[in-house]
Subunit: 244 residues, 2 copies
């Protein structure tokens, strides 16, 4: 895994007036597991706190370095992109992106050396309208409509994960270290297979039906590897030996 993805260091998570210190700890852990380390706490109700430490379990350094701010403006001062997480639709329409779109924008800005803030409001009431107006856009995490209460740490987890993905943290499209059989090796195997199937009386050369076509389809689709082909050919050879 490629760590220190360029850009992660320029993205901060800002939590506003969090009620439960356990949620601060769980959010710190959710961040750190995705490589984010900069946590800003605006007027946390209880911090530092033993419960935050417990829930951070391993992300204590993120908590230790967390900056406690008296105002949201202080936490955002040097940020040129501010995205606020919002669970509900607003009467005053503000540009709304889903977490993936927001992460792509945040990642692009961070890679362009800009400071970016992802802002999460209170557990119960989210962001106030005044706080919303500090944001350039809103970030919405899609949920089922009959049960949409994503808790704070889960929201931070999804957004941190999306940011990591947007910065190129996913696996390459093909993690492919297979030592595949070549076309010639496969053809040689199919000939061996067909011969053996005829010898054991499974395949009637006068009426072969779809048998070889089906078997070819299976081994082609599976992209059979050399080591597997050797096992299969060994099975055929032993079968032929028994027939003599």
């Amino acid at each position: 895994m490629n760590d220190d993805l360029p850009g992660l260091a320029r993205v901060r998570v800002v939590l506003i007036e969090t009620s439960h210190p356990g949620n601060i700890g769980a959010a710190a852990r959710a961040m750190k597991v995705m490589g984010l380390t900069r946590l800003y706490l605006v007027r946390p109700q209880r911090f530092p706190d033993q419960e935050a430490q417990v829930r951070a379990s391993g992300a204590d350094d993120v908590l230790m370095q967390a900056r406690v701010c008296a105002t949201l403006d202080e936490a955002l001062a040097d940020c040129v992109l501010v995205l606020g997480a919002s669970a509900r639709l607003r009467s005053l329409p503000w540009p709304v992106m889903d977490a993936r779109q927001a992460a792509l924008q945040a990642a692009a800005e961070a890679q362009a050396q800009h400071q970016v803030a992802l802002v999460f409001g209170r557990e119960q009431s989210g962001l106030s309208n005044e706080e919303l107006q500090r944001c350039h856009g809103l970030l919405h995490i899609p949920t089922g409509s009959d049960f949409s209460s994503l808790n704070l740490a889960a929201a931070v987890q999804v957004v941190s994960y999306e940011l990591r993905m947007a910065l190129g943290g996913g696996l390459p499209a093909a993690v492919d270290e297979g030592d595949y059989a070549s076309a010639a090796e496969l053809e040689s195997f199919y000939a061996h297979l067909e011969q053996t199937l005829i010898q054991i009386g499974f395949l009637d050369p006068a009426n072969p039906r779809q048998v070889m076509r089906r078997l070819r389809r299976l081994y082609q689709r599976a992209r059979t590897e050399r080591v597997e082909l050797n096992i299969l050919r060994g099975m055929l050879t032993e079968t032929q030996k028994r027939l003599r």
Copy 2:
């Protein structure tokens, strides 16, 4: 939000030998918030349990309907695609996808009416090699390399979220209800603005420099809405009145 996304009902989450009932509850909540409801528990250490109820907070129905199984085979019996979550790389290479790739495959299968299982192993040790061999592929959630311990509920949250996204649960590319000003309205505003700037002595018609070009760029980029344009024009009109 579009609920009941086609396919969600055909995807189950299977948890193997979970140690802590709190993690079962938190996983149930993580599922439900993304619209997943089918939970299978293979030999849970303590279930049902009060702590599972507490952590489920609102997803009690998912817990109530959870199926407790004696074996993994029982939980998977009717599934045609089985993907196992894995945090570590394996000595025996198995096809590995990241959570997004895995969710796309799971969603495609579920939409094709196939039963799909997403399997999560023990909190400490994950899946055994024997369990791994029940899987068609492995699902890996990318994490930072120096702290990769995603807890069970967080892993279920990320995968459930990705599944929802893969089934089309994201916001449309443009959630755009703006009542934007037309080109003619904007041109009329720019003329009004330029005239006013000349009248207040800010713009020298003999040496206009980049002023109007810059201002045009700002209002064009922001895709100024009608209601905003009316406010701006009102400001210009009042300014002109004061000058008379």
